[in-house]
Subunit: 738 residues, 2 copies
């Protein structure tokens, strides 16, 4: 294994335990996610092992992505005493995330108190070729001693969710099976409420050892291998691990054995090669090169790497949590983040993945229908937070700064996600022309979401208009507002586009048209109501002043302007703001009006965008990592280039520099998608016009020499090379076809 | 709770994790033992929770005293962040073992990085009044803050035996039941091989809290209690824990609930009072006061405290392991240590306890018979190492310094323990006149052990003598020796004394005589053989030179004399000694010939003792903690006073100063008994003459002003006050009777 070029490498050069670094060094292949803890598993680390879609509730307030047993444990003992790096002199240290190869490399040289020097070098990865496989290889060199060395490989079942928090901590699994032999170590976890089973089987490959013992310690299992070393000899240990779960497999033990036998036959080097081939295919499309700005180039690549890591096109019943498979923030729940922030990346770079994430929404459509019904509406109301089944999983209660219970309302009234999903379906269809998906799945979701809005809007007879009251828009500082511009506008859009698609279907796909209408029992009478809602829904937009009121009454709130920024260049609270009463002020958490102007860019003119950008930018606290990327894009759209670059770097570095202060809890996956959008929509200036033609109006910061990226559009792979004064578009598909 | 006077206190004044201190601060009440780890249970501590008699084998080489779940967990969080003492400034710190009250006190004042000062003060104890109860009380004072404070009480099921050793580590229990509610936390462990169940139930008493949650984390259970504190207010948390096991109880949960309800009704202060009353009764008899030598006084008291802690007269199916209930050294196994080193203390200070330990040997008599049978002998052969059933538990294999497997022979051929037990029965009977015990239990053991020796001795027709060949004597440096003086002498003694008791029984207790002979099928013919063995057994004692040869051929071995002592004043190996071939040298591990001269002091004259003391003292490496106390006693017997005092302090401080270097693994319980013997037999000069009269020939070091102690002898409690020039004996029983 040779490390890739510098631009592919994220490095840690100082040996320390850091929960931020654990998130950054998380490996994931869309099925599995493993946080970047050390193999030793030091007591103050926060291990995380997650399988996409394995949720459980137990004593938690809502379902959580289960922190499963940790399977990459490895400790070294000399004469049966633990070689604790924290009690050694660190002669050499490096951990490197090699994004090209999708692996985490570690090198360490330790001198212990008895002057014994040990070198450890190797790597681990989660295969993109066979997502059930986790591989680890270390070479250990006792440089100057022949004391007995023991390598202890272990699978640790002592993990729990929110492990260091006495109130949030929940253990979500029982250990239901332990099978150990010299050949295999098997631990099976069963979640407590839902009874998902996850079987983890490992096999240790090692030569020139003296003896080994394999044991069941109930809460962990381990194999320890004694070596009587020859100084300077290199001892290689390869760990093959297969992880299967009961959603897809019976006989977890037997099937894991099969996987491991296959894997060991192939060998770890070849498995790495296969993994790299798969990754290369993805990188060949998705990589973006920025020349002239190494920091922007590498940090953008890290965001793309994260997005590539989170996709698993083979699994249509899961989607991406707000924190990826990188940590326990937001309990692994799926928000609008997936459709609005991440999906564009997948649509243009990895369409199979985009499709599978939309299929998750189809898979959970019935629950969205139930949800609407439960709340007194028609159609499908998607949950604000979603886990495995698509039920609403937003916790009802949280704690404020003082530890007092506060009611969380987003699960009740942050409705816009339902339109966001419809929007994503349109984006996907337009870019991919995947009518097979649309006819069989997308259309049904589209019509059911439109139907939801038609039922949710309430007729105000005094004003002869439809209203959507008591909502939360994207900006969550303001709860229980009426006629949020974003929500109402996108609701109307959802209904209007539904008519548009109904027309297409009626004309071009009459069979499907009939079938869907029959299935969802949609009739002319109901469509009349839709039309009425669309015509009369209230959109608080003063087209003369161009300024859009975020919601009805927003302009009457106390006005506070942001004037100060902290050391991370993030806004500081203006003086005299009561943080418990943010409903009172015009300060907003994140892009809201601006958000919509980005999504439906073609529907707003330059003047409107500029005036609203200037107004809202001064009032946006960016207390959500979803915000800066949108301001980068909109900044570029209105010609505020310097701010746009700042915002871009903020969103690109959100995790690498922990500028939201909570990277420890997991990746900012939406921000990763936003970073890609800021690069491609923003600097790349990509937009789709009314005729569904793809266009590019790029603008590069002056120190960028050039930028290069690819996008799939309507089944063609386009290569775009942008310099300060030129743009070159190549259709790689037609090149290939020649 | 007010701490006792200085002479009762063992202190730790520097905050640190120390496995030695964990052993010293172990609490025990004979049923339970809990190592002195901190309530926090820091990652580098070695928690130990043991129930006397709960052994299990699982993957271990032999049965081990099971390290059970730890039930004294307590952590403090401020705003849900763990208040880690290691990340605080320690403003004040003390841990104190109060031996009078049998409790472990702790006081700590911590200043964290946010300048919040927290005071923690309290204590814990294992009740001597109700041995199933463990109590803990802490007062916590947030001195200068009102941040939310969370107290997390937990029972930890993640413990294992030999936890830090990758090869020795064994987990001996499953957790078979978790029941948690706001009132009770219940965790049940079931040992893996033997299926002993141990149920641990706790209840937390606390006032003025905000809210609490109680949870099952599978491998531990916890209750966390939120407090919104008033600065300077004291918050008191009392933890009541009841521990029951399936050897005596069904329905562990229900019965524990009963215990806890009773305990909570009584209240922790009153429970402490009751505990102290019981302890006071023991101390009133057993305490030894040395005036003029505080160090000797306190360290002797520590040894007595340990011995009092290990006794449970109510449990006749357990005995004391070599390391007490204080650690996992020697796996909790029972050796001759109990009968030869500790039992004298109990015989003279706590006769009910002595009886119960001898009853353990009766309880295991059938296994000793089986053992003899298995090895081709008659009678009862007691195992060198014994656990719960009395089967031989000595491991067959160990590891030498280089990690090579070496055969351990003690379990096969260190026979003398069988005579040691007979010896202890005589000692007990002589001092207590407990004929009820002897007639029902002791005699049967005595005859069966004599019978063993008669079958073990082999007739050498060439020399017309009986020999006991291929043995290990007390000195374990020499394996497979022939005619070890100690062994042969005590074997003969065992047989001779058996005749003595047979006579008494025949004359005074004919009913019992007949009954026993019938039960063990002992006939005249066999007694003839016994007589023959006794008459003709070879005792390698040259009565002319007075010098006794430790075993046949010992004097022909290479002679090495100890000339150097290390910084702890322990012998250093003479030069050119091959540590892998100790069979070659006259160097010995511990008292052997001298040992016997102590046991059967009346059978050796002064001259013989002196000559042998001088010879063997120079050749004894004291690689066993059983050795120094014997040399102290024998030193006094032969007038070598200065060495005797040195040896006494060595044995008295073996744990407090860790002078054997392995206190971390548990108490040196035999040394504790040896210390008492050195004080009472040595300085006190106590001996029983041929007429079974008790006598005292004291000698005090010149700086000792006086020494005072009590002994029970023939149902009388004698008080002995010794000064440099006087001795005063009071019969306290007759005083009381007046």
């Amino acid at each position: 294994m040779i490390l890739s070029d510098e631009k592919w490498l994220i490095k840690q050069e100082k040996f320390e335990v850091s929960s931020i670094q654990e998130t950054i060094f998380t490996l994931s292949n869309g099925y599995l996610g493993v946080r970047g803890t050390f193999e030793d598993l030091f007591h103050n680390e926060t291990p995380g092992t997650y399988v996409a879609g394995i949720f459980d509730k137990s004593e938690a307030q809502v379902k959580e992505l289960v922190n499963l047993p940790y399977f990459w444990g490895l400790k070294i003992y000399l004469k049966y005493e633990y070689l604790n790096p924290f009690e050694c002199e660190i002669l050499d240290y490096k951990r490197i995330l090699d994004m090209k190869q999708g692996l985490l490399y570690k090198k360490m040289r330790l001198r212990d108190k008895k002057n014994r020097i040990t070198k450890i070098e190797g790597y681990r990865f989660l295969s993109h070729d066979n997502r059930n496989l986790a591989l680890m290889k270390y070479k250990i060199t006792p440089e100057n001693y022949k004391d007995r060395m023991t390598l202890e490989y272990f699978i640790d079942g002592k993990t729990a969710n929110s492990v260091s928090h006495p109130k949030e901590r929940v253990k979500h699994y029982f250990l239901t099976n332990h099978i150990v032999s010299d050949d295999y170590l098997y631990l099976e976890a069963c979640t407590r409420d839902i009874n998902h089973k996850v079987g983890i089987l490992s096999s240790v490959e090692i030569e020139n050892y003296h003896s080994k013992i394999t044991r069941n310690y109930i809460d962990f299992i381990a194999q320890s291998i004694d070596i009587d070393p020859v100084p300077q000899n290199e001892y290689t240990i390869n760990i093959y691990t297969s992880i299967l779960d009961s959603r897809r497999y019976d006989n977890l033990y037997e099937n894991n054995i099969k996987e491991i036998k296959k894997a060991r036959n192939i060998g770890i080097e070849k498995l790495l090669e296969n993994h790299n081939k798969k990754l290369k295919k993805l990188w060949d499309v998705a990589d973006i090169k920025i020349f002239g700005d190494e920091k922007a180039d590498k940090s953008l690549r890290f965001n793309i790497f994260s997005l590539l890591s989170l996709a698993n096109p083979d699994d249509e019943i899961v989607s991406i949590g707000a924190k990826g498979l990188h940590g326990e923030g937001y309990k692994g729940h799926v928000f609008w983040d997936t459709e609005i922030f991440m999906l564009p990346f997948y649509i243009y770079e990895y369409p199979e993945a985009a499709r599978s994430f939309l299929m998750y929404r189809y898979y959970t459509l019935d629950k969205a229908r139930e949800n609407a019904r439960k709340n007194g509406y028609k159609g499908a109301q998607y949950p604000w937070e979603s886990a495995d089944t698509g039920e609403e999983e937003t916790p009802k209660w949280g704690e404020d700064y003082y530890g007092n219970k506060v009611r969380i309302w987003t699960g009740d009234i942050e409705y816009h996600i339902t339109a966001d999903i419809a929007f994503a379906i349109r984006e996907y269809l337009r870019a991919t022309e995947d009518w097979e998906f649309f006819l069989n799945y997308g259309a049904e979701m589209f019509f059911e979401t439109a139907r939801f809005w038609a039922s949710r809007a309430k007729y105000n007879s005094k004003k002869d208009r439809y209203e959507i009251n008591e909502v939360i828009g994207p900006d969550e500082f303001h709860e229980h507002v009426n006629n949020n511009f974003y929500t109402n506008y996108l609701a109307k859009w959802n209904i209007d586009k539904a008519f548009y698609y109904l027309n297409i279907l009626r004309n071009k796909y009459p069979y499907n048209y009939e079938k869907i209408l029959k299935k969802i029992k949609l009739n002319e009478e109901e469509l009349e109501r839709w039309k009425d809602v669309s015509n009369k829904i209230y959109i608080p937009w003063n087209k003369k002043s161009h300024l859009i009121e975020q919601f009805e009454g927003y302009f009457k709130l106390e006005d506070r302007i942001i004037t100060k920024y902290n050391e991370k260049d993030m806004p500081e609270w203006p003086e005299n703001v009561d943080l418990t009463k943010l409903n009172k002020y015009q300060l907003i958490k994140q892009a809201d009006v601006l958000m919509l102007m980005h999504l439906l860019s073609e529907e707003f003119d330059y003047e409107t965008k500029k005036i609203n950008f200037e107004y809202y930018e001064k009032r946006t606290m960016h207390k959500s990592s979803l915000s800066p990327s949108m301001y980068a894009i909109m900044g570029l759209a209105v010609g505020d280039h310097s701010k746009a670059y700042e915002y871009f770097m903020k969103t690109a570095l959100v995790d690498l520099e922990d500028n939201q202060g909570n990277t420890a809890l997991g990746l900012h996956a939406a921000s990763a998608g936003g970073t890609w959008q800021a690069a491609v929509y923003g600097f790349g200036g990509m937009y789709i016009d009314d005729n569904e033609k793809i266009n590019f109006k790029p603008w590069l910061p002056s120190h960028w020499k050039s930028m290069e990226f690819n996008v799939y559009y309507k089944k063609q792979l386009l290569n775009i090379k942008i310099t300060q004064d030129s743009i070159k578009i190549n259709n790689l598909s037609s090149l290939n076809n020649k």
